[in-house]
Symmetry: C2
Amino acid sequence: MTDRTPQQEPMNRLRALLGAAWDLEMVRSLMQWDQATYMPDGGAAARGRQLALIGRLAHEHSTDAEIGKVLDALEPVVAKLPYDSDDASLVRVTRRLYDRATRVPAAFVAEMLEHFSVSYQAWVVARPANDFATLRPMLERTVELSRRYAEFFPGFANVADPLIEQFDEGMTVATIRPLFAALRANLVPLAAAITSRPMPDRGILNHPAPAEDQLAFGLEVIRRFGYDFERGRQDLTHHPFMTKFSLGDVRITTRTRENDLVDALFSTMHEAGHAMYEQGIRPDFEATPLANGTSSGVHESQSRTWENLVGRSRPFWEHFYPRFQKAFPVMAGVPLDDFYRAINRVRRSLIRIESDEVTYNLHVMIRFDLEVELLEGKLKVKDLPDAWHARYQSDLGLRAPDDRDGVLQDVHWYSGPVGGVFQGYTLGNILGAQFFNAAVRARPAIPKEIAAGRFDTLHAWLREQVYQHGAKFTADELVRRVAGEPMSIAPYLDYLWGKYAPLYGLREDERAPVVAV
Amino acid sequence: MTDRTPQQEPMNRLRALLGAAWDLEMVRSLMQWDQATYMPDGGAAARGRQLALIGRLAHEHSTDAEIGKVLDALEPVVAKLPYDSDDASLVRVTRRLYDRATRVPAAFVAEMLEHFSVSYQAWVVARPANDFATLRPMLERTVELSRRYAEFFPGFANVADPLIEQFDEGMTVATIRPLFAALRANLVPLAAAITSRPMPDRGILNHPAPAEDQLAFGLEVIRRFGYDFERGRQDLTHHPFMTKFSLGDVRITTRTRENDLVDALFSTMHEAGHAMYEQGIRPDFEATPLANGTSSGVHESQSRTWENLVGRSRPFWEHFYPRFQKAFPVMAGVPLDDFYRAINRVRRSLIRIESDEVTYNLHVMIRFDLEVELLEGKLKVKDLPDAWHARYQSDLGLRAPDDRDGVLQDVHWYSGPVGGVFQGYTLGNILGAQFFNAAVRARPAIPKEIAAGRFDTLHAWLREQVYQHGAKFTADELVRRVAGEPMSIAPYLDYLWGKYAPLYGLREDERAPVVAV
């Protein structure tokens, strides 16, 4: 960042204040990572207490009134700088986060976190027991708390908007609904057309393989992607995630399945996509709010790019399949075409996280619509199970046999607010296709390089265009800069059709018209 | 702890204040554990910064003036309680630590820590390069800082005493010197007698073995010892250590050597000894200063008990040797006697951490004497290398070929104060023998149980007599309660003679008389 400017001294003061708050968050992430990877059971009680302590200190530091004063002093000065200058961007982003954090009283945050913790513990027991009745009053309280959270931000058009803003800055129910409606209008017929064709045999992937062989193959792939092991590592956990403790230490986790040759592999690619985004942020943003991915949607765009657009593509496997067969000799007699169809099997199913590229968004949109209705008061928690079943029936033609695979399926509503999280998954698919399209337009050699097992050009382009900026630009600003257009579903639908029509022998007349949004 | 007492409310207030300080220290330990086990290189810079931040917050919390006020209010109340009541003990121990912490200005602590960090980085480079010249000015500053630290505690008899007190409460140069002098008067002739006999062949232990087999054997042994894996785990590192993040999460680390069948095993036993002490502390002491081992000496007594008194004993191997031979088939033809002699080989050597039970203390006492002379100003840093060589010549009959295996050998003087640390190793040997003696007196079945691979009686007795009390009693108080006598070298010398005389065929007339201290 620039030296010898009029704002230098207050900027340094701001960075010092922000650095402590950021570092406390990083310490908290380390504690959570350890909890999810190595911590013995006996450590749980103290870890909960210690997380609460560090969380409280982090909140105190990030809402320090001194930050507000420094921002007040800086804003008139940086107003003269270009919008995308580092100093102006840091002040702008900090102001947004600071105002958001200071509007919500610490006591309310503590109340909310305590409720989420109780609710999560109850979900862990209630889900396997298919016991929605026990969770119902807790979920009612969660909806109530989520609404109260929103009310700290008066002036919203929709009560879900303040929750969405936390994760996808600049997005609102009003911008998401038409996007999702148009997407659904295309995906429902696409899924119907695909599932009218013979289903590929995914059973060819169900073979036992030593965990270390599964892990070794995944690590080799992401090393080739460009994940930097000098600034990261992979460990085992139950529910894979990416986390970071600084820009120099961005870790991923995965798990292996006993009887599945690719499950761990795609999880590793997915988390590596998240991690390469964070590893690619400009190092001089370290310990400031700019040193984060800018939104859930943009983050998810990168995990899905590396997992799906690259990792489930035919060019990728043209290079890697012989190695895969060598690593897992049981695949020796299976042709590439069969393998490629198996990893891209589309099937209407009940479980979001096990679903495919085409139907995944249908799961997401059901959840998004239901949570907005809950927040708006149009849907009561007591009616949620039936509403869930009705939507699965209409969108996917299926009905869950119980609540376990219905409203109890995802941890989100039982461990955090209702609203704000789900839309990011689908926004990620949309944005990922836009960024990837733009990359191939700018660097037409990319597909051929992927087919040769090389990813440097793609990775360098994404780093240059997306990763390095961290949180400097919102998703909307970023997609306009990078793809030269606002968020649009057309590239994503083109991608899906271009991939799945030949795979399943779909006819052009089966394609729904893309409605521009 | 007792409820409904006059002191209940201020005691609760005290515990809340102490809990936050303790938890911050625990978080710091987690960060250091990760740094020494899993952290990628890229994380180093930020981790250093974050450790400094948490260290500063921990210091602020543990020197909070509010603690002093609550102590002032409590002291007259708990004065009426028995000395060993929980409340009186917590107030007493907290007062000691609080007064110590508040006497040293935070700015001085920061200055010291920063110097130690620079000095340590320099040592890492200078030791392999045999470059004492570069470190000399840093060590001079370390001596100076160590003296200045001591000066915050006016009234000491010896300038080293305030440093020793930090680690071995109640011990002073005046109490340690005669103890060590008497010990040396026995150990020098014992080592001479032993090394006049044929040296056992330790080469029989130098065989390559898969790291996982080495680790598995060690884990099995400490599981039998009673190390609780529900409240701990073992990971790999370069320099093995024990650490804890709460009483429910006490971890150990080890490393394997490519060509040594027992090195990792004894390191694992050693760290498990430290860990079982911490795991045995009363759970209701959690998050108070009582939830720590009471001194370096008592801590080391337990690591050495399980590593040496148990793990290098003949009864232990009568049970475990057949298993060991099964785990490492290369030992199939080696008789137990040869193996037992190999793991108890005594040899005068230059390197402390590779030395045996008999000569180990000679290494420690050299360091203790030299560091006290440095602090007293009787020895200049520039003369330290020669003084080192002279003492090794007189005590061990050896001269290091260079400073690398001389004054640069141990990290301690280059990463912390000069003074305070080394005496604990030998105090541990002395105390360990006293505790073990008392255990066998009280529970005569212990040796036979060890020969049957059972450790419950010994472990339960140590937990009852030593572990559960945490920091409630000083080492001196503890040994008087447990062994019914003050610290004494006689049991340790009896143990050594009882073990090594038969092993090396020593005659009774070769034994130096034990001088009571």
